[in-house]
Each structure stands twice: as structure tokens, then as C-alpha cells.
């Protein structure tokens, strides 16, 4: 099997994991459930960007993944602070 084909198969399985986590985001009974699902989806998207960069030998995807990791971390912290009900 070709290397690019392997990476694309891996990306398909990661898309499956994203869809399963999205079911939890839509169904989730409370707000923290949805935040947990979004956090998981963020991590899987970062990993998918790294794999995309390795598959097509294009490093710009991995730079985008680093920035995406830091920004999703900040957004998760802010949503958690909002749920907690404290002031910033």
C-alpha cells in the first residue's frame, strides 16, 4: 500500500471518531458534556492536521496545528470559566 493512501485511510478513521464525538455534542444532557465533546474534537482535528502535513509533505499544516492547539486551549479555559460562574 502506498504511504499517502495509508495516511488517507487513517484520516478516514479519525473522521469516524469525530462523528462519534459529534453525536455526544448534539445529544449531551448538560453543558459540560458538550464542552468535553468539543475538546475531544479539537484534539482529533489537531492530529488530523499533523497527518495531513505528513501525507502531502507540506509543513504549513503543522504550523496551523500548533496555533490551533493553543487557541482551542484558550477557548476551552474561557468556556470552563463561564460555566463555573466566576468573574474573569
Amino acid at each position: 500500500m502506498n504511504e499517502i493512501t495509508t495516511f488517507l485511510v487513517v484520516l478516514g478513521f479519525l473522521l469516524l471518531a469525530v462523528v462519534i464525538a459529534l453525536i455526544r455534542v448534539i445529544k449531551g444532557p448538560t453543558a459540560p458534556d458538550r464542552v468535553v465533546g468539543l475538546d475531544t474534537i479539537n484534539t482529533i482535528v489537531i492530529i488530523s492536521m499533523v497527518i495531513f502535513g505528513a501525507a502531502f509533505r507540506d509543513v504549513i499544516y503543522i504550523d496551523v496545528a500548533i496555533v490551533y492547539a493553543l487557541l482551542s486551549y484558550i477557548s476551552t479555559l474561557f468556556i470552563a470559566k463561564y460555566l463555573e460562574g466566576g468573574e474573569f
Binding site: E3, T6, F7, V10, F13, L14, L16, A17, V18, V19, I20, A21, I23, R24, T30, A31, P32, D33, V35, V36, G37, D39, T40, T43, I44, I46, I47, V50, I51, G53, A54, R57, V59, I62, D63, A65, I66, A69, L70, S72, Y73, T76, L77, I79, A80, K81, L83, E84, G85, G86, E87
Partner: protein
Amino acid sequence: MLYWLVGIIVYIFLAIGVFFNILAGLGLLRFPDVYTRLHAGTKCTTFGSIFICGSVILIGLRMWLTNNPDNGSILTIHTAIALIAILLTNPTGAHAIARAAHRSGVKPVGAVIDELEGKPAKNAPRRKKEVAKE
């Protein structure tokens, strides 16, 4: 010979990482509670991302040492930085979500008592002092 061996190791690492990422999705779907879902969704994705970034780092090292040194070095170092960012931010975010869930009143399934009930938050006096100053 070494080229072939690195290819096999890369495939094994990719399989382990994908397996754990799908387990994270299944755990999110099947567990009964916010805290157990957090346990599945955070730990499994962190472990799987270590292996997937490890496989990409191996590919970058192979490119660096054999045919394409410039692109390979950039691929290796930037993937290592992305892995460090994930390892630093993922558990911290999980801790913040768990604390927010507990403070907003979500109880674990099957819990009888809450041992942290009524205990003051660690930074509560500082907040009061700031309010008094204003």
C-alpha cells in the same frame, strides 16, 4: 533495511494511535457521566496523539537522514512542537472542565454524598478583597 524497518514501525504507531482515538469517541458515547466521559475523551486522545505524532516524527527523521534534509528537519521539529503543545494543554483543559462541572453542580452518577460540598474555593478570599477595594 533501516528504511523498511522504519516504515513498519510507522505503520504500527499509526494503528495504535488511531485505535486509541476511536476508543476515545466510543468512550464519549458510552460512559454515563461527565467525569467518566472526560476521563475517556482526554486520556485516550492524549495517548493516541503521542503515537501519531511519534510516527510523523519518525517519517521526518527518515527524510532528514536520507533524501530530503531540509523538509525532513522542518517536519520533525514542528511536529515535536505540536506534540509538546498538545501534552501541555490537553490535561490542563480537562482539569478546568472538571472543576467547572463540579462547581456548576453536576453530580457523578451513583454518588451518595459530595465530600467537597461547602468547602470554600481556594481563591475566594482574594476575590472578596478585590470587591471590597472597589
